[in-house]
């Protein structure tokens, strides 16, 4: 490391060093370059500006709009939305909006089936990959591929696969009339399968890294004490993986709640509204009904709830991981 220091420093500090040159070179930016705190402030500036104007401001705008009846159809600019002020009616409305709650319910159903499935499959795969074996690197790369495919493309793939006349039915000997994407019961299942296909590798990746962090010495000691693989897994590996498991579950659950690309491309929410998740519902309301103030209210509520859950989950997990 010292050789890095010496060569880089020698390389850099030559012309800049205190050579007594005239103060002509000491302009504003030179001063900034020398002062850590000022430089730091400039460094942070782009991010802060972006966040302020593109996050804080829109959020404020949305909050404002959510208390009105405004839609773009009104013909007035948004900042005059106060003209149709409604003091919380949107919020009251969303509480009883059965279409919204159905969408939430459907989203939760997908989550409840997809996330545990991905977790268990990922855990099983991770367990297979803990020890070294010939070809491990190769198979590892192969099995990670699904999560790197553009989600819309995954949607297309499964759209093709689940056609009545498609390969899936063919493989399982089902007739062409056994539809998936247009069947009331099976549409959701096909979305769940697609989501699982795509994201199990992510669970696999995260859980494997957690498993590998278990000190191998301790595992060895456990085996020498007579523990079988399953016993050691239960008593040593799993408990030590708790923070990693928490992170994986929280991250995946939140992302799963946001599911859009897959079901939009596969079924457009259909048949009917069978696979209409929250995101799809919001999309419909935004572009079809143009009910923007209402969508704004819903958006804020979801934002609030999800952020709270995710932040607390991750904070818990990070604390456990470091402590």
């Amino acid at each position: 490391m010292t050789d890095i220091i010496s060569t880089r420093v020698a390389d850099v500090s030559g012309d800049e060093a205190m050579d007594g040159k005239a103060p002509l070179r000491r302009g504003y930016w030179s001063a900034v370059a020398r002062d850590g705190r000022r430089l730091g402030k400039w460094f942070v500036a782009p991010t802060v500006i972006l966040l302020l104007f593109i996050v804080v401001f829109p959020l404020a705008m949305q909050l404002y709009l959510s208390f009105t009846w405004w839609t773009p159809l009104d013909g007035v600019r948004w900042y005059r939305a106060f003209e149709s002020f409604n003091a919380g009616d949107n919020y009251a409305r969303l509480a009883v909006d059965s279409a919204l709650w159905s969408a939430i319910w459907r989203t939760l159903v997908i989550m409840v089936f997809a996330v545990p499935a991905q977790f268990l499959l990922g855990l099983g795969l991770a367990y297979l990959f803990v020890d070294q074996f010939p070809g491990r690197k190769f198979f590892y790369s192969v099995l990670l591929t699904p999560m790197m495919i553009v989600p819309a493309v995954v949607g297309l793939m499964f759209f093709l696969v689940f056609q009545g006349t498609g390969p899936f039915n063919h493989t399982f000997g089902l007739p062409a009339s056994f539809t998936w994407l247009t069947d009331v019961h099976r549409a959701m299942l096909s979305v769940i399968i697609a989501d699982t296909w795509q994201w199990t590798p992510l669970m696999f990746l995260i859980l494997l890294s957690g498993m590998l962090a278990v000190p191998p010495d301790q595992l060895l000691a456990a085996r020498l004490l007579g523990g079988s693989s399953w016993q050691n897994f239960r008593k040593i590996i799993l408990p030590r993986m708790k923070p990693v498991i928490a992170i994986a579950l929280v991250l995946r659950s939140v992302e799963c709640f946001k599911i859009f690309d897959l079901n939009f491309v596969m079924t457009k929410g259909g048949p009917g509204v069978e696979t209409e998740t929250v995101s799809l519902y919001l999309y419909k309301k935004t572009f079809a009904d143009l009910d923007w103030a209402y969508v704004g209210a819903i958006g804020l509520v979801i934002l609030f709830v999800l952020s709270a859950i995710a932040a607390s989950g991750l904070a818990f997990a990070s604390k456990k991981a470091k402590g």
Binding site: R8, P46, L220, A311
Partner: protein
């Protein structure tokens, strides 16, 4: 150190191969579909995995707008959306990486805005749709709808948190002694950052850039909402492709899907080592 029994090893390979088969299943179907000529798109003539008459017709079609044997043509080729995807992904990546790198360095080294990390973290966790309305309004107001810079801008912002967190972990791994040694020799803070620290984290920077690029390239929703004809990106183009005849264009869409899928897969394999770090906001390192 401990060898598994041959039976256990065989079972392991069987399970892994089975998993690989599941991975390959839909991929293979789409890939082969991309090379199937029009009559084979549906299974009227019998179901086959591999095309009976493999052809590049679909690719010709999307690149040139017409092809031998196809009676219809497209109103636009892949070229526009492809450029759109590339331009917006690259620009969005540049924005996110530059802003994220600079600000994470400031947080790590100068302790600026230590409350920033948590707020920035929150950013990624809410559904974009939840705040799309004001974004759309603002974009319309700025005249940013259906422009390359409008989409790049939102891409940059949305992926900024990832870039921030990823670079933060890389900066934290640079020993401060190196920077101190440079400072002691007379370098200004800026020089230390630019000539010493940056080169050290260069691999991490590359990883971050590829990571963010993958995320931008894979976006669907933002492009769907903020672009129309001129700057429609590849994934949106792929899913909304219709022909004058109203047919399903399976082969053509598959070709598009194949092309769209390749860059993220290639880049993803390159940055495989750092995937866990990026995906968990630096909470875990691989």
């Amino acid at each position: 150190m401990v060898r598994p029994s041959p039976g256990a090893l065989a079972l392991k390979y069987a399970l892994i191969l089975f998993a690989c088969a599941i991975v390959a299943y839909p991929l293979l179907w789409m890939v082969t579909m991309a090379f199937k000529p029009y009559p084979e798109w549906t299974t009227g003539t019998g179901m086959t995995w591999f095309p009976k008459n493999p052809t590049l017709q679909n690719f010709e079609f999307i690149f040139f707008g017409h092809a031998k044997g196809a009676v219809v043509s497209l109103d636009r080729t892949i070229v526009g959306p492809l450029i759109a995807s590339i331009v917006t992904s690259v620009c969005g990546t540049a924005l996110a990486v530059v802003a994220g790198t600079l600000s994470s360095y400031a947080v790590v080294r100068y302790g600026i805005l230590s409350g920033l990390p948590l707020q920035v973290l929150q950013l990624r966790l809410f559904p974009p749709l939840a705040v799309m309305i004001p974004i759309m309004v603002m974009w319309a107001f700025l005249g940013a709808g259906d422009t390359w810079w409008g989409l790049s801008l939102i891409y940059g912002i949305v992926t900024l948190p990832f870039a921030f967190w990823l670079m933060k972990t890389f900066f934290e791994e640079v020993p401060i002694e190196i920077e101190d040694a440079a400072r002691v020799s007379g370098c200004s803070h800026w020089r230390v950052f630019y000539r010493i620290t940056l080169p050290i984290v260069a691999p991490g920077l590359a990883t971050c850039a590829l990571f963010v690029f993958i995320m931008n390239w894979s976006d669907y929703l933002l492009a769907l909402m903020l672009t129309q004809k001129n700057w429609m990106t590849l994934p949106v183009y792929m899913s909304t492709l219709t022909s004058a005849m109203g047919g399903q264009m399976y082969g053509v869409k598959s070709a598009l899907g194949l092309i769209a899928a390749i860059p993220p897969v290639v880049f993803g394999l390159l940055i495989q080592k750092h995937l866990v770090r990026g995906l968990t906001f630096g909470a875990l390192k691989q």
